[in-house]
Amino acid sequence: MLTIDRVSRRFGEVTALDEVSLEIGQGEFFALLGPSGCGKTTLLRILAGFETPDSGAVTLDGEDLLKLAPNRRPINLMFQSYALFPHMSVAKNIAYGLEQEKLGRQEIRRRVGEVLETVGLGELGERKPQQLSGGQRQRVALARAIVKRPRLLLLDEPLSALDKKVRADMQLELKRLQNEVGITFVVVTHDQEEAMSLADRIAVFSKGSVCQVDAPVALYERPKTRFVADFVGANNIFEDGPELLAVRPEKIRLDGGKLEGSVADVSFYGGTSHISVTVAGRAKPVLVAVQGASTVRQGEAVALGWDPGDAVPISE
């Protein structure tokens, strides 16, 4: 559906995107994940039309996207800041995009009403954006984008401005909506949990390049590089001769292993506990995660071990 072919973009000395290629399917929920400055936002802005690549091609259902102005693309973007028009009511904000399509007044009113119901803001059409909570604003931004029925919806850090509780609700809401409207979603985020919980597939970016594209579980269980292993979830990386091995904290046992160390710190999170263990000859402590409360205490000697199958070989 969306094909990104060897797209590059430089800003002076900085290479924001270096020959990035991606293939995103119809109806997919796709995440671009990476730390800030990795190029994911530049790619998003290229898709929306606010940035032009130096080289490469982008096609949507075979149609060249790059030659279309932003207002002619069948794509909508939900801005990180939401970018709601402060001088218009919620209903006017949502109607704005439909007015540009020269639809009839009846049709516009009907569709605005429908989409307000869809995002659960049926009563708030006459409010100004400033009179809404963060979560409500986000729903308006989402409604304003999907009411145009774009073929592709781009979401820039959709949950970052929300507090934790609202974020969890909105996460479910986004998935439900995506199922309901059947639009292809591309979300940009620096938050690996957000990407993992939302997306069908994730592309991990680092320094302008794509490191790995995989489904969340595969990405978590089989990272290919040190960067991905480290960035996606907590991980322990061990050097075994020339080889690098990554072992997830929850795969490490605290007894019966060969790696001896002492417990430096224990943090209790309710469902799980995180134990950091200092091991002689290692700069970083080894992180171990156990279910429930910890069975060991600070200062205790432990012998760490894991099943060979849980150690994932990775490249530098």
Partner: protein, 257 residues
């Protein structure tokens, strides 16, 4: 102790407003003396209304101020938007604001030379254009400041939702800038109303603005009707400033509450 700290404030206010109060007070003087108040009367307002040179000057000044306001606000706003959205040149920025700090004489002489070069007949139009040159710089500065606080992603959102560049400007950019534009227009109006040097050079012999008329009257001695005139002008300026502030507040509260 708390009251004492307000003393400098009051001194400053007295310093600022005493001359104005004196003029307003003396405009109601029944007598002819500029120093002794001889009783309340509207006599000088009557004389003012009967003085054709002054009333004509007042009308000319209001026409010039209105024309300058419209012309400089439109051009200044466009210039500010152009500078903020389409260039990154610090030099262009500085050059745009230059007429605000240039000595009026330089602008006046320059314009007079341009007018005679293109053989433009001097009149109210030549003053309007001349005033717009320096008033525009003030409008640009005010609108530019407002623009730098405006969220550029709103314009991108408008484009993203299918609006072209022109519709985006009219429906999103302009409403965002409205308070700045009103403030700029007001500034242009008040700057033009009492401007002397540029008007003196660029006005024709027949259609003179009020400051020029008053100046020529000074040569034969001030008559108290000038006090009445100053009070009338004060009223116009005050009304404009208060109306502008109201409009700005209205725009702000619409944008922020």
């Amino acid at each position: 102790m708390g009251k004492l700290r307000l003393v400098p404030l009051w001194i400053t206010y007295v310093f600022l407003y005493l001359p104005i109060l004196v003029v307003v007070w003396m405009s109601f003087n029944a007598g002819r003396s500029p120093y002794v108040f001889e009783g309340f009367s509207l006599r000088w307002y009557g004389e003012l209304a009967a003085n054709d040179r002054l009333t004509e000057g007042l009308v000319n000044t209001l026409i010039v101020a209105a024309g300058t306001t419209v012309l400089s606000t439109v051009l200044g706003t466009l210039l500010a938007v152009g500078l903020a959205r389409y260039t990154r040149s610090k030099l262009l920025d500085a050059v745009a604001l230059m007429p605000a700090v240039l000595p009026d004489l330089v602008i006046a002489i320059g314009l007079l030379m341009v007018y005679s070069l293109v053989q433009f007949t001097l009149g109210l139009w030549s003053v309007i254009i001349a005033h717009s040159v320096f008033a525009m710089a003030f409008v640009t500065a005010v609108v530019r400041t407002r623009l730098s606080h405006a969220d550029a992603s709103l314009e991108e959102a408008s484009r993203d939702l299918g609006a072209g560049a022109f519709r985006t400007f009219v429906r999103i950019t302009l409403p965002q800038l409205a308070p700045g534009i009103v403030a700029g227009a007001l500034l242009a109006f008040t700057l033009s109303i009492d401007e002397f040097a540029i008007a003196f050079f660029t006005a024709g012999n027949t259609q003179q603005t009020l400051p020029i008329v008053i100046y020529s009257m000074l040569k034969v001695g001030v008559k108290p009707e000038v006090n009445a005139l100053a009070t009338a002008l004060l009223l116009v300026s005050f009304t404009a400033v208060i109306a502008g502030q109201r409009l700005t507040k209205l725009g702000e509260s619409r944008a922020h509450d």
